[in-house]
Symmetry: C2
Subunit: 383 residues, 2 copies
């Protein structure tokens, strides 16, 4: 069964963790759930109170995060579950596939887990997406909780119920819309994040500015040195504001029938970079950072934003420590390769690529674009 919690669980959770966490509610009727944001949450049993009753829990983590936090999470869950199993996946986007997903099903069945077993995704976006899809599919649906440990996962991928795996021909091509019962953003874990991962997360933070909140973009621009310096209060505000914006968008369009696609700003070019370079060569956030600059450039070539805004967005992406020079994917027909990969994008319709563009700063729009302009953007970005 999917989440049947009442929204009051958010209130209960708020009481249980009142000293350490603030809360953002994702309002989706019976599938509503809270995002808890704060310090020391992962190791606190109160964080995991009032989840659906179950005999067993399965922690899904990876070889990088597991050694750091799996034991603390297991201790926190001890009072809630009779049995707690753990499965450790290989780390990285290159493993976001069937073979790795099956390791989760193997662990569930080898431990005779049942339809009530709760899955806990402890890791970044790859662990979260795969655990969510495993939860959506195991016995046709069991509850799960997101415990994101990267900035990117805290501000974006763990919220909103998009789950899935990659196919060799396209990113996130196989998956489900399946909401977690709770998201737990422990800000302390960001302290152990490698600088490159922090920068990748900042790409998704920046994204919310041009599509939804220009004041937030101003704030990001000012706070970039603090953010890159792992400043706790700056990161806390960034995580909270991103979750608030995402909560609003997801609540109005859970299954991406329309508005939600604006969250893919920069992702059409970005997914082509990720797939074309081979998953894992560029981090998702790096590809999105570069892709946002390309999408802004495309918007400018359509006369929708001015050159000053494109230049500003590029400066912010560079300041986050992200690449803005796009990779050459094919020495003979680079633009052709980009176009072929983007035609497989989930927003494409009947072979036509639909881009998320800016019709002025803060005003996302979606539309197809003449191919010549797209080729010009690719040529400029790769030069």
């Amino acid at each position: 069964m999917p989440s049947l919690e009442s929204p009051s669980v958010a209130a209960q959770l708020a009481v249980a963790t009142k000293d350490t966490a603030s809360h953002v509610l994702i309002e989706l009727g019976q599938r509503s759930y809270p995002i808890a944001i704060g310090s020391g949450l992962l190791a606190n049993p109160a964080t995991f109170a009032n989840l659906p009753k179950a005999d067993a829990a399965l922690i899904v983590t990876n070889t990088c995060v597991g050694p750091l936090y799996a034991q603390a999470l297991q201790n926190a869950l001890q009072s809630h579950y009779r049995q707690i199993h753990t499965v450790v996946l290989p780390d990285g986007e290159t493993h976001k596939n069937w073979q790795t997903l099956n390791l989760i099903f193997d662990a569930l069945l080898e431990n005779a887990c049942d339809r009530k077993t709760v899955l806990f995704a402890l890791g970044g976006g790859v662990v979260g997406d795969m655990t969510g899809f495993a939860a959506a599919s195991f016995m046709r649906g069991v509850p799960f909780v997101q415990v994101p440990t990267t900035l990117l996962a805290q501000v974006d991928s763990s919220v909103g119920g998009k789950t899935g795996i990659n196919h060799p021909l396209g990113k996130n091509m196989v998956g489900a819309f399946y909401q977690p019962h709770r998201v737990v953003c422990d800000l302390d874990v960001l302290k152990t994040l490698p600088a490159r991962e922090l920068s990748a997360g900042l790409a998704e933070v920046i994204k919310y500015g041009p599509i939804a909140d220009l004041a937030f973009l101003d704030w990001i621009e000012q706070q970039m040195p603090a953010l890159r310096n792992f400043d706790a209060s700056a990161l806390a505000y960034a995580v909270r504001r991103c979750c608030e914006i995402k909560a609003q968008v997801v609540a109005s369009d859970e299954r991406e029938a329309g508005l939600r696609a604006i969250l893919n700003f920069g992702h059409t070019f970005g997914h082509a970079i990720e797939a074309g370079m081979g998953y894992g060569a560029w981090l998702h956030g790096e590809a999105v950072g570069c892709g946002m600059v390309m999408a802004a450039d495309l918007s400018q070539r359509l006369g929708l934003v001015d050159a000053a805004f494109v230049a500003r967005l590029r400066r912010i992406v560079v300041a986050a420590g992200l690449p803005v020079k796009a990779p050459v994917l094919d020495a003979h027909d680079n633009a052709g390769r980009y176009l072929a990969l983007m035609q497989l994008d989930k927003k494409a319709q009947a072979g036509e690529i639909i881009f998320v563009l800016l019709d002025g700063p803060g005003k996302p729009v979606m539309r197809p674009v003449p191919e010549a302009l797209v080729r010009a953007v690719i040529a400029a970005a790769c030069a």
Copy 2:
């Protein structure tokens, strides 16, 4: 997006196919859909009118059914879709796994199918379950239509939105609840069914008697010779009555939170037989037939039904051409092997097996049972 058709699609379909089909409606609010039952439906373009608009369709079939009916279905779809692709899967339960499922995703992506592409499942339960799960998962959900070509699929597996694949440790362990947009039961295709497949389908037909409709059980008993002789009007009534009962059960409990589990009468023992013998050795219907007799025997040992009813059910199962002697799964610890496999059943909770029993003919109940009684049933059935 999932089905967003209005129920009036059933009415439109009824008009379009008024001379050849009758209709049963599965009422699930916005996910409601019609089952069309009749002759000549598969080759009739009107059968597929008013489905969600799309540029492309993908027919999923297998090596056995494809050569018989794929061309006719493709012709019928020609006026509705600009592109019609076909993927042919290997035949049989043994192929109901990730590798085969991936052939569907490969076909979708190699043909640059998009989020609106409609999948058509042309085949038996295995094709239907896998196509449904592929539709649930491709780009997180595309529409699909069931065109079941076996009696078992027409009366049971194509209706109600249970989709999935097997795991080496358990049947249908990975999947989704995902409703089709339409089910098309063309009675003509049953004429080409091998006798063994017809008998397997009759197991699920018989099932609806003891759990829901004793008058229907009387009818089945009387009509068994006609049914086994492929009598068109007897099969038409059987398909229609089964779909009516299933529609009622599914409408009241789409995601098997309670009542719907009664449809698994005979399936707890049956799944153990299928998994224990290796998928495909026994047909699903054969295992269910034998499993129903075992579940009835277990009900009798609990004092819930009398011996006469168990003997009658056994006679009906035998008359359908189905086995009632259960296979020995382990020469050293047969009951132990059965129990271990049944502990992995999706109805199990915290390691306790929950059986669907009869608390008198026509009155299904679900409960755990003392292990000694289960062992006695297995010993008797395997003797």
